[in-house]
Amino acid sequence: MYNLIGAGLIVIGGGIGLGQIGGKAMEGIARQPEAAGKIQTAMIIIGALLEGLAFGALILGK
């Protein structure tokens, strides 16, 4: 039960983080469409780091 709550918290946190990354990246691309490639790459890397963190927490927490 507590595991599930923890997992839910992790997912909420990760979701907020991913939303921030994605949203800001969109804003950045909208502002400077010519830098879209670089922004996307950076976005994916940071998303991956966040994902690693969340997965690590999910697995360690269980």
Partner: protein
């Protein structure tokens, strides 16, 4: 309705128990790890030798070739431009030369015509002058001749007149008188 049913099923499945740290460690197979390490190492070495090196070298070569080709094309373009500029210059020079030659020719033509004209004029003038001179002298000679002839003729006439007139004394006197009278009247 759908969501409820799915939720019920998920609850029944107890998804949360499927993976835990313990099962994860239990799942870790040392044998698979060893096999993977060996296979990956072999694949990396094989691929490096037989695939990646030739591919990357070929790509580098091709890209180098393309860069060289672009550079030489650029050079050729520059050379072409230079050549064109040269041509332009030569053409200009040739045109200028032609102009000059034409001008010279024209000048020469004019000069020749001028010379010819003056010479012709001179000759004509000389001829005219000569002709005038000869006409003058002829005229003079003719006048002199005429004068002498007139003089002879008048003398002869006068002789004849005198001969006839002087055969008569009165008439002689009358003549003298008339002459004198004319003289005084004049």
């Amino acid at each position: 309705m759908v969501a409820e049913a799915v939720l019920k099923k998920i609850k029944q499945k107890k998804l949360s128990n499927l993976y835990s740290m313990e099962t994860l460690l239990n799942d870790f197979s040392v044998g698979l790890f060893v096999m993977q390490a060996v296979i990956l190492l072999i694949i990396i070495l094989l691929m490096r030798k037989f695939a990646w090196k030739p591919i990357l070298n070929a790509l580098d070569e091709r890209e180098g070739g393309i860069a060289n080709a672009l550079k030489s094309a650029e050079n050729a373009k520059l050379e072409m431009q230079n050549l064109q500029a040269d041509n332009q210059r030569l053409l200009k020079e040739a045109r200028a030369e032609r102009e000059e030659m034409l001008k010279e020719a024209r000048d020469m033509k004019n000069k020749i015509i001028e010379d010819a004209k003056t010479e012709a004029n001179d000759t004509a003038n000389k001829l005219v002058a000569q002709a005038q001179a000869s006409i003058e002298s002829e005229k003079k000679a003719a006048i002199a001749d005429l004068k002498s002839q007139v003089a002879n003729l008048s003398v002869e006439i006068a002789e004849k007149v005198v001969r006839t007139e002087l055969s008569n004394k009165d008439k002689q006197l009358q003549l003298v008188e008339t002459m004198l009278g004319e003289k005084s009247l004049n």
